[in-house]
């Protein structure tokens, strides 16, 4: 690229379009045949708002079939940004077809630019071209074969036809069979075996694996060993499976439970006696896995399973894993005898008042077994025993591991807290348990389960600042924003929270680039046993619930606060990607289970209310439909082209029919919202217009909304802020529409409605703040926490401050509404 070219690009990036165009016209005069300058000129036209002209010009340009890399890249980006995926690929396809010689670098560009589409069919198309361009290149052959593997593996989602499947399967194997054997490393062999596996050629997999094993050209990695075990299992090759699994377990010391299971299974099939297996294990160093293997032998051979379970229990009950390891086998035994053993263990420890860590862990496991197997009536006893154990050990320093280790003692109390919340999830009980968790955290500063629950409870109150504080104290960052940000978002709108959201969003910007470049590098280095997950990971992150919810929240905050700092960036982002967001499946990567990792949330769990999974309730309401509706709302707002607006309105109508809000206020607001969008942006006949207008005039009144605006349960909950935020957003949006749509006689009626709502809301706000404080004071004065000696007052002040502080920015916004 010449110095002048670089200058032009810099001018475009800086938005200095006039100067850039003047430079370009000079270059075009000098080099009239160079397509690149025309492509840049069209880019400028588009940026200046002359999009239609730019598109037409570029469509003409691609008819000339340019083949220099810069032009192709510029055109690809242009069409991609305008959602013209087909055209963006045609540019490369035509060029490669017309100029097949030396097309390799162009095809590689095409691949690199297409990576973040995660389009497996496109990858395959690109690799077919790449393979054609350089048949001698070994890695390209593997790329092509691997792309067939991806297509076959995902054939249902990609709608690969049976005809295609029957073609792809042999073709992909043939690519590798011809000229590429022997394979040089584990990765090459991996691709070949995976393709054989998709064609159900298990015997060939075995032969190939054994051939390579015998040749010792390279050592097998974990993937290949696991594949060998699996294939021996599938093909019922019991003798070899027994030998190989035995070798792994006893020679290589590969202490892997799945391998233990296969060893037992194969020997069972070979009629090896259980005694032989048991004595083989007993001659081996008895460890955790091999102890469970003894249970598994009894299960497989239909022998008495209680004895090995009891032995395991005796040997490992002082380890936290004991409960998890045995849990899956308890349905196989009469638990009466087992629970009696558990009871005896508990009684004996409590009688001796032992304070060792081992005895504490035994008590924890025993209580969990008891909880799992107990009857309803024993729940009170369970809880009181948890507190008894807590009081017995709470001052015992020796139970603590390192400075950063969780105190195991709090495991039982957390279960009791959740049981308590399951019975009573009123605001009063939530506040009580917040006090308890806060108290436990004083001595157990890094306990993440306590902190996750504390965030849940804070979010259920209107205590955003406190949940955010916990989130930050846990040093949650990078990918954890994707899986855990639902604990704090939605945040109440404020300048600080807007900035916090933008900072979280930065993770996505960085990771998008990282994923793109690493997928390319992964292909270059041929890391085939990781690439499928790389692609899935990129796809899962590119259109995820968390990501899109953060984007829609940033826009919502900006609208509510009237803050334009980030609006440009995010509205442009939506213009470029919004349609893809709403048209494609949104993927939910949120982690709802880390907080429940104590092994007791079963389908038949009587004491744990599964509704708590959805606390805070507003997180449950964050689902693809509501996010898509919000994004469509913004797309409709910010789009200038009528035909596109009508397309989005159509989609909005479609999605809103599936939207079932749980809160009465959301139901009402969504209807008003819908009518406002239709009224200002839709094409309606006189009747439809009147109907929409009447609905708005009738319902967009604070008197009408007040009954559902203020939550019936408690004004301290998240609901009031949620409702107010959405109401303010609607006011702001309506106000924006009114400003930009002058002249229609109906608008005056809407304007009157809006003025009334604003005026009523301003009067309303003061009561809301005072009532919150008053309710919290009343709640605290009636609160009893008999189990702990807690200074309720100091904790109450903190919560009080946070609830008020969380509401303050909204109150300010209401004051400034015009």
């Amino acid at each position: 690229m010449s110095k002048t070219d670089n200058e032009i690009i810099e001018l475009i990036e800086r938005g200095n379009y006039a100067l850039a165009q003047s430079q370009l016209s000079k270059q075009i005069k000098k080099f009239p045949q160079r397509s690149y300058y025309y492509a840049l000129n069209n880019e400028i036209l588009s940026k200046k708002g002359e999009t239609d002209q730019a598109i037409q010009n570029n469509l003409k340009l691609i008819e000339k079939i340019p083949n220099d890399r810069q032009t192709l890249q510029t055109l690809w980006k242009f069409f991609d940004e305008h959602g013209m995926e087909k055209e963006s690929n045609v540019i490369f396809e035509n060029s490669i077809k017309k100029y097949p010689i030396n097309s390799e670098s162009i095809i590689l560009d095409w691949f690199q630019m297409s990576i973040n589409k995660f389009n497996l069919r496109l990858f395959n198309k690109i690799f077919i071209n790449l393979h054609k361009s350089n048949k001698d290149n070994r890695i390209y052959s593997f790329w092509l074969a691997f792309s067939y593997y991806l297509l076959i593996e995902n054939h249902e989602a990609l709608k690969v036809s049976d005809k295609e499947l029957s073609l792809f399967k042999p073709l992909s194997i043939k690519i590798l069979d011809d000229n590429l054997k022997p394979f040089k490393n584990t990765q090459e062999l991996f691709v070949y075996l995976k393709l054989l596996s998709l064609s159900d050629k298990n015997d060939e997999i075995l032969t190939t694996l054994e051939e390579y094993k015998a040749s010792s050209v390279f050592n097998f990695d974990l993937d290949l060993n696991l594949m060998y075990l699996e294939t021996l299992n599938v093909t019922e090759n019991w003798s070899k499976l027994s030998q190989f699994s035995e070798h792994l377990l006893f020679q290589d010391k590969f202490d892997d439970f799945d391998t233990w299971k296969l060893w037992i299974k194969s020997n069972f099939q070979l009629n090896t006696s259980s005694t032989d297996l048991i004595s083989k294990i007993n001659s081996y160093q008895i460890k955790r896995n091999s102890s469970i293997a003894l249970i598994h032998i009894s299960k497989t051979y239909g022998l008495d399973i209680f004895q090995p379970i009891a032995s395991y229990y005796t040997k490992f009950n002082h380890k936290l894993c004991c409960f998890y390891d045995l849990k899956g086998y308890l349905s196989e035994i009469d638990t009466t005898e087992f629970i009696s053993e558990v009871d005896n263990s508990t009684i004996s420890i409590l009688e001796t008042s032992s304070n060792s860590i081992n005895d504490l862990i035994k008590l924890i496991n025993n209580q969990k077994f008891w909880f799992l197997l107990s009857k309803d009536s024993e729940l009170t006893e369970f809880n009181s025993l948890n507190w008894k154990i807590y009081n017995l050990y709470k001052v015992n320093e020796s139970i603590r591991g390192g400075e950063f280790d969780n105190n195991p003692l709090n495991e039982l109390l957390l279960i009791s807290i959740i049981v308590d919340l399951s019975n009573d999830s009123s605001i009063k009980n939530i506040v009580k348990n917040i006090y308890i968790i806060n108290n436990l955290l004083q001595e157990d500063k890094y306990n993440h389960k306590l902190k996750l629950w504390l965030m849940k409870l804070y979010s259920n109150l209107n205590a955003n600042d406190l949940s955010l504080e916990i989130y930050q104290s846990m040093n949650i960052k990078m990918i954890q924003h994707e899986t855990l940000s639902h604990y704090i978002i939605p945040l109440n709108p404020s300048k600080q929270h807007l900035s916090d959201l933008v900072n979280i969003y930065r993770f996505y910007l960085t990771s998008d680039k990282e994923i793109e470049s690493n997928i390319f590098e992964g292909f270059e280095k041929g890391v085939f046993n990781k690439l499928q997950s790389f692609i899935n990971f990129g796809k899962r992150l590119s259109n995820s619930v968390s990501r899109n919810f953060i984007i829609s929240n940033i826009i919502k905050h900006s609208i509510v606060l009237g803050d334009t700092s980030y609006m440009n960036y995010f509205t442009n982002l939506l213009k470029n990607t919004g349609e893809a967001i709403v048209q494609n499946d949104m993927i939910d990567n949120r982690d709802f289970n880390s907080e429940w990792k104590f092994g007791l949330l079963d389908a038949d769990s009587k004491h744990l209310n599964q509704d708590l999974l959805n606390v805070p309730i507003n997180s449950q309401q964050i689902n693809p439909t509501i996010i898509k509706l919000n994004i469509l709302k913004y797309l409709i707002m910010f789009e200038t082209k009528d035909e596109i607006i009508q397309k989005y309105l159509k989609l909005y109508n479609k999605f809103i029919s599936n939207y079932k809000p749980k809160l009465a206020f959301d139901v009402l607001l969504s209807k008003i919202n819908h009518n406002i969008l239709k009224l200002f942006k839709g094409h309606m006949n006189a009747n439809e217009l009147n109907s929409a207008l009447n609905f708005i005039v009738k319902n967009f009144k604070l008197d009408k909304m007040k009954s559902s605006l203020v939550p019936a349960s408690s004004i301290l909950s998240w609901e009031l802020s949620h409702n107010l935020t959405n109401l303010i957003e609607l006011i702001q949006i309506t106000s924006l529409f009114l400003k930009s749509s002058k002249g229609h006689k109906s608008w005056q009626e809407i304007k009157n409605c809006l003025d009334d709502v604003i005026s009523e809301l301003k009067k309303f706000k003061f009561k809301f703040k005072e009532t919150q404080i008053q309710q919290l004071n009343e709640l605290n004065s009636s609160l009893e926490i008999s189990e702990l000696d807690i200074d309720v007052r100091s904790s109450a002040v903190v919560i009080n401050d946070s609830i008020v502080a969380s509401a303050d920015p909204l109150i300010k916004v209401i004051q400034n509404l015009k």
Binding site: R288, Y324, F404, N406, E514, I515, N529, W596, A603
Partner: protein, 198 residues
């Protein structure tokens, strides 16, 4: 009932129960991807059967993982395995799982294509529990890296500070027949962070 499986990048969506531990670092996505590209077989996880799967549709849960790499020049007798991260979920501690993950890594890198001379790791001077664990596995302190965990680059190698210094611990592997890569009294050998770059 632990099974060992290769780590995949999608496991980042599932590893919070492990990574919410305050001593376990959360790296940027690129860091994990780079390890999976450059040392695909040295990044593996331990998994357990997950029993609450009716709710979470999860068959297995991650109980821990090992993130390792190889680096250094053989000619300088520095070709070695490095443990970048080894971590275990709190419910699966005190059962030798971290040690087992370390031993697996040693086994994997004691043979081709790696066949390294030794395995090493850094441990905070104050983390005596970790130091004991590694000593049980045959590691010994090779040197004390002054200011390794500090915010500023230290200049004086004699200015020791337990809070920010690290022990570089090593264990020689079979290829180091004469144990030339380890030494006694390594805790008395002070170096600066820039001196431990390979």
């Amino acid at each position: 009932m632990t099974s060992i499986k290769p780590f995949q990048i999608e496991d980042l969506f599932e590893f919070n129960a492990v990574n919410l531990d305050p001593l376990t670092e959360n790296f940027n996505v690129s860091f994990y991807l780079q390890y999976l590209i450059d040392w695909p077989s040295l990044f593996f996880k331990s998994t357990e059967i997950y029993h609450d799967n009716q709710f979470f549709h999860q068959q297995n849960e991650i109980s821990g993982y090992m993130m390792g790499k190889t680096e250094g020049k053989l000619t300088k007798k520095e070709w070695h395995t490095h443990i970048t991260a080894v971590t275990v979920q709190d419910q699966y501690r005190r059962i030798g799982l971290a040690s087992y993950l370390c031993l697996q890594l040693e086994q994997l890198t004691s043979i081709e294509p790696y066949n390294t001379l030794f395995v090493d790791l850094f441990v905070k001077v104050t983390n005596s529990l970790a130091r004991q664990l590694y000593e049980k596995l045959g590691y010994s302190v090779y040197r004390r890296v002054v200011g390794y965990y500090g915010r500023e680059m230290p200049q004086d190698r004699n200015k020791i500070d337990d809070e920010i210094d690290a022990f570089d611990m090593r264990k020689s592997l079979p290829r180091d027949i004469n144990n030339e890569t380890v030494r006694e009294n390594g805790d008395k050998v002070y170096v600066l962070p820039m001196e431990v770059v390979f």
